[in-house]
Amino acid sequence: MSLRKDLQELREAEVISAEIEERIQQYYQQKSDASGSRLFVVFGILGAILVGLGIILIIAHNWDEFPRSVKTIFAFLPLLLGQAIGIFTLLKRNDSIAWREGSAVFLFFAIGGSISLVSQIYNIPGNLSSFFFTWMLLALPLVYLLRSSVTSLLYIIGSTYYAVQMSYWSYITPPAYLYWLLLLLIIPYYYRLYRTHPDSNYTYFHDLLLPLSVIICLGTVANGYGVLLIIAYMSLFGIYYLVGNSWSTNQKGQRTPYTYYGSLGTVVLLLIMSYDSIWEEIRQESLVFTELLSTTEFWVTVVLSIIAGGLLLRYVRKHSISKLPPIAPVFAVFILIYIIGLYSAVAVILVNILILVVGLAITRKGARQDHLGILNYGLLIIAALVLCRFFDERLSFILRGTLFVLVGIGFFLANYQMLKKRKAHAE
């Protein structure tokens, strides 16, 4: 053990006292104990997931030698077993994260296994979405009663799958409104997790999954007026970005996933909107205002935009307008462009200019902060814009070629300048 040796050496050289040596040793001892129990938690969860999935696969084999009555009893076995483990955990192992997570995860899969076996025995075609909906509702209380974060994550994934299956992948695709109810039901857990353990990995995974789930499922509200949702998405990304920025960073100094989703989402959506074909579609859509008032898409868009606008105002009041990050106000500008786009083809040019401005602003910010990452992100946005135009047949080859050369030189110069500046500082 090299630490012990080092400490001994330091004590003998009278750099530290014997007391300090002991305290350091104790500290590392405790730390390794903690990581040992963390390993136990990880293996407990992984084990439960594997066993649970295994049971589902074994059930899916469909044992048709057994008569119906025997198979029916089998349908309840994993469920009863999971519930028994759950009760044992509550009574005897309530303080152990590994037991709580493990038993909840096992029971989560047992519920799914049980319902699928019953559907199998009675040949219930029951579409996959209603199967998932029942499963998630029956599993939700486990999250709260056993305080299981992994079950909460599985629940978010399952709810997302429900919405996607129902609204994107089915033959007749009604909006999956119940998804929002499922989502709402998990928010209290997420909130508590965020308040009590802001820096834990569980919180980080929730930060990662929950906003992603909303991004995936926002499109499910489309029911005839899908083009309106472009604004809704842009405002959602605006909200993410502003929320991510005002929570700023957690204690480890990491940015939250919200910032990344907001920033990347905004840029990607802008790039998609830099093509004229979508704007043609928007112009052709005859939007009658009185009809709009009765669509869900319209109200979702309005609510999201108002929230985003509110967050933007708060940010400006708190930090002054000069400190506003370049991505933050994009959604507001985009709404104006969209309204112009309803009547005029000039919108597509405005979007291209907007991307260029955002790219340049981020590049400049990176240069000022002496941050190569931000600098190159800005340059990448400009490069992506140029790449999109590269495949745009409406522009001439000479123009496209010149653009490419200019951006390439820009990349080189900006990075070179910054590195030179750093070198000068260092000297």
């Binding site: 084999h61 469909n62 048709d64 309840f76 759950g86 009760i87 319902i115 219930i124 029951g126 199967f131």
Partner: protein
């Protein structure tokens, strides 16, 4: 934080609900099988796959159309109460599409409109909520193959035996030439050299 007793009580309550849902599904199906009326639908089996619930064969029904005189009342995805009858050969057909369950003791099926046929014979094509028949993973592809071979050579008939009660249906068995498909597959496997 909830105290331990309350948590335990809630957990037991949850466990009961978790048991109740599959139990309820089972009891309802058993009731339909025991007391429903039996219909035979002409069909053809194909073999897809569901990652969660295993292998099953999908049934392609011959008769999924119900004649309707006024199509303007209907659109895709509408709930429909389809009254059942039988043709000369004793196979099930749909005779009438209703917006609410029939008052009489006629058998009917509650389902959705899949699409609408506007030319030739006007009518609604229905989604039949019993188009899956689960089989053991190795038997399902064999079942489809056995049916195809048989259909090619002799034009055999496949049919689905469905129990129906109060609009709900349970698929009881799939028959090829009036032999249950499980037995048919086993026989076909034995006959192979």
């Amino acid at each position: 934080m909830l105290n331990k007793k309350v948590t335990l009580l809630l957990f037991i309550l949850l466990a009961l609900v978790q048991l109740y849902v599959p139990a309820k599904m089972i009891l309802r199906r058993e009731e339909i099988i025991a007391t429903g009326s039996e219909y035979k639908f002409e069909t053809a089996p194909v073999d897809p796959y569901d990652p969660f619930r295993g292998r099953y064969i999908t049934l392609n029904f011959q008769e999924t159309r119900v004649p309707v005189t006024d199509l303007s009342d209907w659109k895709e995805g509408d709930v429909v109460y389809a009254v059942l009858g039988t043709d000369e050969e004793g196979l099930a057909i749909f005779t009438e599409a209703l917006k609410s369950p029939p008052d009489t003791s006629q058998d009917y099926l509650t389902t959705q409109v899949e699409y609408i046929v506007e030319h030739d014979e006007k009518g609604l094509v229905l989604m039949l909520p019993f188009n899956r028949y689960y089989m053991e993973e190795f038997k399902a592809p064999a079942a489809e193959q056995a049916y195809r071979d048989a259909a090619n050579s002799t034009g055999r008939e496949a049919s689905a035996l469905v129990m129906i009660k109060e609009g709900e249906a349970v698929l009881k068995d799939v028959l090829i030439d009036d032999v249950p498909i499980r037995e048919y597959v086993e026989k076909a496997a034995d006959d192979q050299p």
